[in-house]
Assembly symmetry: C2
Homo-oligomer: 388 residues x 2
């Protein structure tokens, strides 16, 4: 993809609001470079028809004001690079193709902080979301789902918020697992403030991503639109606790609309925080009580893909460090992250990241604390005869 | 129906076990009188083919032993008459036709203790069942469902057991509602012993029924087979709390098999007593959190029947006391049970029984503590122009 297109998309994340379908149509019809050109050159005009269709005059004026203030994309890219972050957009190898299901509401691009490949991780991911002001029961269930999904080789996606979200992230982190926080602000910002340590930890062991450019702040509508990214990125959304009309239910509704699984953890009928979940479960949502049941559901589609004969990804196309991690797994038996990292010469966080990438590719699988080669990898159905 | 047929069926409840499909086929093929004759006359025979098909020799011997000990049906009928009880069987006006869905496992007949018409009451009934050793949460939910269903004019059916069953009965009784206990023993016996007062109270304000003849005791298999009657009698079964492999889940499975609604009340995943319910809810059971949601589901079928034009039952065919209760309802507005009973000259229990019968016929409806004429009754769509 030409660098000029990436730069245009990066700069457009400063100018158009997430999930705005009108801008999505511009990108589809005119492409990012031409769309940006029409916005930038429009600054001179004061009357006549607008250079881009479907937008009202006031909104257009606000858009031009943001464009005038927006720094060059290069400066934003430099700014996030210092955090070890990058910009990923449609056309990039790391772009998660499932986000295209959002149509014109697809993100213009995503700012990504953390080592692992977003595309690889998102392939086998599940969202665990819920109320901020949750109960002890909710914390317990969310943490246990986060840990259980991680132990089964699944990536736990959530919104980084207090309550259910945080418990899910922490459950996955604590189980030496993979977790992704999707923020409604710049990935260099921490929201909520109290989660500075948690978000930093997720960025080290996992990924922190968002549509908003560096420094940008969350707004109520940004929280709501962020939820569509969580739903689209994952194979299913589990709502742990949610009152009626909560944002987490919105994520589940997005999941249903996008053909993903919408799941809910039941709770006491006497708890208002289970009320929204029960409402979901009465409307086609699937009741789940543990990670096993979640995996049973979301694993059903595509889970057998590595079984098919033929190459998934030739081993010699893997990045060098990933190939070393793969080589550190024994032909028979299992190893812990620490053992694998020691042999591959990779840090614990880096090892975890690469193991979950290899998991998505069908090379390895996780059972509790241990990782091992898949039967397919051992049988050598991969194009190069599989790992040693 | 000829009295000799009723007497044969009554006596057969002493001889064949509930839900035994082989005996069901005998009744279908030979009729009750001939079936009984072949059993009674077989006492003389010692060899050759058995006079009734499909039964093994040992079982046949046990059956003959029971037949020899069985008193004449007249004596059993006299015995229960002293309790205000009666025998109701297929062909009787009071027989609930939906039990025929059980095919050859249909009860031979039912011993019925209490004033109201079993057939009328069963038309608009829901089963609420669950664990004996339940939690406080379960008691609370069951009692609230029992009361809520009663307040909406629905009859609450359960098994008279400790725990969830008792709470459902008590909830209905406490709301001046209608409730039916289906026992796995004679209706003159009390099981469990600790429920003497409860069962007596149900027999006064509601109905106590069962397949077993007077004096007969419960056995494990009789409890299990009793559940098919609960499921078949009602429009749906709600399981409030149940461990895996509990009897209450068996009732729900029967309900599903018979095309009734199987419903479950969710609870904390951390409670083993909600485990069975969640299992049900993951297998086509419908999640319900209150009586309103139960009624929404079971009321859907046939709920509109009274809306149709034309007679449901002419008022002049109602028993005299029932007609007096109907006449005690004002043309406009609502009255309590006490007010209606005072005007009709009926006791509170009797008034409740007749009001729920009238409810099934579409004449009246209940809203909380008050009863009123239905719009259909006021409009006079009944054959005699409706109540005054």
């Amino acid at each position: 993809m030409p660098e000029v297109v990436r730069l245009a998309r990066a700069r457009l994340t400063r100018i158009v609001e997430p999930g705005w379908a009108v801008a999505g149509r511009w990108l589809r019809e005119f492409g990012p470079v031409e769309t940006l050109r029409r916005i930038d050159e429009a600054e001179e005009r004061t009357d006549g028809p607008l250079p881009l269709p479907g937008v009202r005059a006031e909104r257009w004026a606000g858009l031009l004001a943001r464009a005038r203030e927006a720094p060059p994309a290069e400066r934003d890219l430099e700014r996030v690079a210092k955090l070890g972050a990058r910009f990923v957009c449609p056309g990039d190898a790391e772009w998660p193709g499932q986000l295209d299901d959002l149509g014109d509401e697809r993100p213009v691009g995503l700012w990504v902080r953390g080592g692992p490949s977003l595309r690889m991780w998102a392939l086998r991911s599940v969202a665990v979301v819920g109320a901020r002001a949750c109960t002890d029961y909710g914390v317990r269930m969310s943490a246990s789902l986060g840990a259980g999904l991680a132990e089964r080789g699944w990536v736990v996606v959530s919104g980084g918020a207090y309550g259910i979200d945080a418990a899910a992230h922490r459950g996955a982190l604590g189980a030496a697992g993979a977790t992704v926080a999707v923020l409604a602000c710049g990935v260099d910002r921490v929201y909520p403030r109290g989660h500075t340590q948690l978000i930093d930890r997720i960025a080290e062991q996992g990924l922190v991503i968002g549509e908003l450019p560096p420094g940008d702040h969350p707004t109520p509508s940004r929280f709501i639109l962020r939820n569509r990214v969580i739903a689209a990125l994952t194979r299913g959304t589990v709502v742990v606790e949610a009152a009626y009309r909560s944002g987490a239910l919105g994520t589940a509704r997005w999941a249903q609309r996008l053909g993903r699984h919408a799941m809910g953890v039941p709770g006491p009928v006497t708890s208002g925080l289970s009320g929204g979940v029960h409402e979901l479960l009465r409307k086609e949502g699937v009741l789940v009580t543990d990670a096993e049941e979640v995996v049973e559901l979301v694993g059903a589609m595509g889970e057998l893909a590595p079984e098919r004969r033929g190459p998934v990804l030739p081993r010699d196309l893997l990045p060098a460090a990933t190939a070393r991690v793969l080589a550190a797994l024994p032909g028979r038996g299992a190893r812990t992250v620490a053992e694998i990292g020691r042999e591959a010469g990779t840090s614990a966080d880096d090892t975890i990241g690469r193991l979950y990438e290899l998991r998505s590719l069908g090379f390895v699988e996780r059972h509790g604390e241990s990782w091992q080669l898949t039967r397919q990898a051992i049988r050598g159905v991969f194009s190069d005869g599989g790992p040693p």
